[in-house]
Amino acid sequence: MKKKLTFAAALLAASVIGGMANAKQLVYCSEASPAGFDPSPWSGGNDFDASSRTIYSRLVEFEHGKTTISPGLAESWTVSDDGLEYTFKLRPGVKFQTTDYFTPTRDLNADDVIFSFERQWKKENPWFSYLEGTGWEYFAGMGFPDLLKEIVKVDDLTVKFVLNKPEVAFLPDLGMDFASIVSKEYADQLDKAGTRQQFTQKPIGTGPFQFVDYQVDAVIRYAAWDGYYGGRQKIDDLIFAITTDPAVRAQKLKAGECDIMSYPAPADIAGLQADTNLKVDEQEGLNIGYLAYNTTLPPFDKVEVRKALNMAVNKKAIIDAVYQGAGQPAVNPIPPTMWSYNKDIKDDPYDPEAAKKMLADAGVKDLSMKIWAMPVSRPYNPNAQRVAEMIQADYAAVGVKAEIVSYEWTEYRERGKQKDRDGAFQLGWTGDNGDPDNFLFLLGCDAVGQSNYAIWCNQEFEGLLKKGKATTDVAERTKIYEEAQVVFKREAPWLTIAHSKVFMPMNKKVSGFVMDPLGIHRFDGVDVTE
């Protein structure tokens, strides 16, 4: 039997490889090599694109192009009244991928779900440390080790998560990449063979595409998985052509060497839009770029000083010059596409004269300060150095002398967290799961010394944040978060700079690609006309 199955797998692989010439293929020019194909240990968007979104599925999934969740491997679920127990009914008959290196003997069941989480959670699980120095950083970063009490197998197709405290974002969290479901049977097979490392090199999932081959730093090949529970994909082969330089990616797209590309450089967008063979989709990014004051140090501990500095900055000029129009001035700490965004809040007007007067009224004279500029380009801020220079010029116009400082990227963030940090700090955030709390927690008291770079702990805001997290009713949470944004704007711990737009250039023959607000690149449902 085993021989027969191996033979069948070999035939499949041969047909995958041999049929490539006539197959319908989509070539995606991706921006970086994945660290591996296990969906949980790594945290880069390019890792997720190459693993979790192609090869794997989750209990719940984000709807295509939205941040709302829909059934995935779990076809239904119930939540206990106290919000502490989530019981999931698994979809029957879900098949793990059959490849030349693994042939499953059973369908997905509760054991796979429990294994997928316990390997990231329990130190005694042999898979917890199967990769040297693996952090399971996302699992830990989302607070799962403290949140989970136990995961119980009710029956083969029913699994219950018991939490230590209610968590409103628990369901969206389960739609995130680190929560992808892996095969326990495959893990057991590798355990027996003593080849655990293969788990991240030759992946097995239940997702729309199965892994075929990876040439390190060059090409990843996938084939449509015939047994995918959501139906077979329209394209036969999906190829990631790893191309790190954005200008080269643009040239490849123009030359027809790839069909779709990620992260074009702002300077290339006009040229790509002008190409008659291409189309450029765009979407408001689920992100925010900001400048955080150190609200604990004088004179930035005064609200009126922070407000005055906010009013001194010409955000529109920054959007035009640095974002090259691909962004919009940010008013609130959450982007306008997110639910609970408070439309009624007005931004601090650009008014250097009023700003100068406010500073004088606050007793601030001859202020000298530092502006921190990130050394890297990020989706929410393509050129922090240039932004800093423009803010520096705006500040000079109101009599504030600013010096620009920058450090190596990891050091930059570490120094920025220091409570005695001198100056205003540029950074930003891209949403993980579409929940407002996933943005507002950046300003919570618990995040001081970590992701709260304004070192701002406002009890009124904190109270609303906590209330929002303990409330399940969306309408009620919306009101709470709207109020929190009012407090934020009144207190001005940040200069909210911009929400950037994200662009996705592609050949016109590509159809069905939906831009994802969470910045993920998904290829299920995509078609290519020959």
Binding site: M20, E137, V248, E408
Partner: protein, 335 residues
Amino acid sequence: MLRYLLHKLALIVPTVFGISLAAFAFVRLLPGDPILALAGERGVSPERYAQLVEQFGYNRPYVIQYFEYIGRVLTGDFGISIATKRPVLGEFQALFPATLELATIALIIAVLLGIPAGIFAAIKRGSWFDQATMGVALTGYSMPIFWWGLLLIIFFSGYLGWTPVSGRIGLQYFFKPTTGFMLIDSLISGKSGAFRSAASHLILPSIVLATIPLAVIARQTRSAMLEVLGEDYVRTARAKGLAPRRVIGLHAFRNALIPVVTTIGLQVGTLMAGAILTETIFSWPGIGKWMIDAIGKRDYVVVQSGLLIIALIVMAVNLIVDVLYAVINPRIRVQ
């Protein structure tokens, strides 16, 4: 000869030791932290950070870390990448053929064009050919590789459509690597068009990578030839009435070859350095791109071991050049 060889080999030991120390220190002198880089923008809690530092052993004194590292290297264990969790040696072996293939083709281009250009420039000293060749060589030498590569891509691939933009072979060709050298593997695969595709993918990156060595070799050949052409024995050869071709080919060029061979040997280091940028531009999956990614991620293990392996290779090539040198010029052996 054996003594000469042993002498050269003995010199390698302290050099390797010095390089391993420099590589170990270099990556630690860089600002940044591998654990924070690994954690990404989301960051890592102080407890978890402390735990990871302990696990990787970065909290121990540098001296201990270094000697442990050297101890492992001596047993052939170059460590496991912090970022990808794959063995460094395995990654190197998978990627090195791509760099070697590119560097070899680039070196062939540089030698085949550089030496004749240098000879003719020397013979026609002061002519328009000499001035033009040396002008081009100086420009090539000063050209920023990144800019030059992009320029060629935009013109030849984007505008004219003559060459592929990047990669090693057309994506329609898929076969398991046998040797890792795409030109050879494409021939072995038996797929029609595969070799042509692999060759066409080599054109632009090898031109870009060859540019600096070509300029250096041309300039070196010219100056060596000029020196030799002024020697008495060349004048004597001419006075004897030998044909100019014979004078230049047999008497002048052979003697001018010694510094040129040395220069070519030294270009291996230049090619390795140039490969870093060339591979990044052309998405060429070699060790140059690998090192750049590792530096970006502060992957201490990959950077220190990668540098060491590359240095070992460069030293091996230089040793071969030294041996060749001794073969060409027996006086060197005595010295």
